[in-house]
Amino acid sequence: MLGFAGTDYEKIREDFRTVKDPYSGNEIFVVPAIRPEWAVIHAIRADEMGNVVCSALESDRLAVLAAKQSIVTVEEVVPPEKLVARPGEIFLSALHIDLVVVAPRGAHPAGCVHVYGIDRAHVEEYLAAAKTPEGFSEYLARFVHGKTEEEYLGLACGKAV
């Protein structure tokens, strides 16, 4: 990672080290690989074998490939011939995934590529609530704590379902 040269990351990140590149002989920065215990991502669809198609625009697939274990939630399960990735989507093999969970609108209030966009009104409501600990607690009480998935969807995005 040559880009860290000359930055203040050199001072604050002890785990960013320089080594001599054995090929060019130049000093280069190296960073430790990120190895998450878990990756949890929301994908667009799965087949019954647990292969999925997810967004190509984010680093979701990369997170699953890096993690020791992973859970992928999906909008729907489709027949194998319907799984094919379109532009903006990418195939992710069941080989890398430990659990697939069917969770329609599981990305809410964020968006899911080609299925639904960001629920801006809800995100704005959350941002306003999360400015204070009390507001955050109220938000959780209203939408999350003790609520089933169906209740959340009814409360949070009933208008869109």
């Binding site: 880009g3 040269a5 000359g6 203040d8 190509a56 625009l57 979701d60 532009p87 903006g88």
Partner: protein
């Protein structure tokens, strides 16, 4: 005197300056949270850079299969010609701060962070900085934290770095040998004194030309890009359309 524009919004004026940095047949990328650079690049693509290749993040049309990793790989391989960055602080030497205001251990303001800007500043052939404010708080002698370094003479190799800085008052050019900014042009109605007062480091030369203004046909073409801009920045595009009327 302050910026005096006729028939053109400040955002459009800055986006026009961005468009002049885009060259045909090159690869240009625009990151997230960059509505003014995106408008400028969309305009350039329609105006003079129709053979270029473009990568716009924050849009469902982004032509990648592996997220932002593809942008970084592209830049590392030397195939990214032009990218845009900004900073909460930009210093005399061209360094950018996107990390914190004040001491890192006890910051007065904690900023969102660099998100790969260090590598892109180093590996992209030309990086144009665009700021939406011009004050001594933004343009400082030395950044509180250097998130992305403009010049690294003590390292053996570097591909690119800053070339130009576009602000609401002026444009500056980066002198790689001196490793600092030079004043390049003043926007209409902006005096040399005003820019110096609003900049926290010395700026030379004294006399510079006026920044070019978009022609009526440029403005019309740029405004025709607003529907495309809206796909990435619905709120910004909506507000722009409202101000244009």
């Amino acid at each position: 005197m302050a910026l005096a524009l006729e028939g053109c919004l400040p955002e459009e004026y800055l986006a026009f300056q961005v468009s002049l940095e885009v060259r045909d047949f090159e690869r240009t990328a625009v990151g997230t949270l960059s509505p003014v650079p995106l408008l400028g690049v969309l305009h350039a693509r329609a105006r003079h850079a129709g053979h270029g290749k473009f990568l716009f993040f924050g849009s469902e049309d982004t032509p990648v299969t592996d997220g932002s990793r593809e942008l970084f790989d592209l830049a590392q391989r030397g195939k990214l010609d032009l990218f845009f960055l900004s900073g909460a602080q930009v210093d005399r030497k061209g360094n950018i701060n996107l990390t914190c205001i004040g001491e890192y251990a006890a910051p007065r303001v904690r900023l969102p962070g660099g998100a790969g800007s260090a590598t892109l500043y180093y590996m992209t052939r030309r990086v144009v900085l665009v700021t939406l404010a011009h004050s001594p708080r933004v343009f400082v002698e030395k950044c509180d934290f250097i998130t992305s370094a403009a010049s690294t003479p003590h390292y053996p190799w570097r591909r690119g770095g800053p070339t130009k800085l576009i602000t609401p008052l002026c444009t500056m050019e980066y002198d790689r040998d001196a490793a600092e900014w030079h004043l390049a042009s003043l926007h209409p109605g902006v005096s040399s004194d005003e820019v110096r007062t609003q900049t926290g480091f010395p700026l030379m030369p004294e006399k510079v030309p006026e920044t070019p203004s978009p022609s009526p046909s440029d403005l019309a073409l740029m405004r025709a890009q607003i529907p495309l801009l809206r796909r990435s920045y619905p709120l910004f595009a909506g507000e722009l359309a409202r101000k244009i009327g």
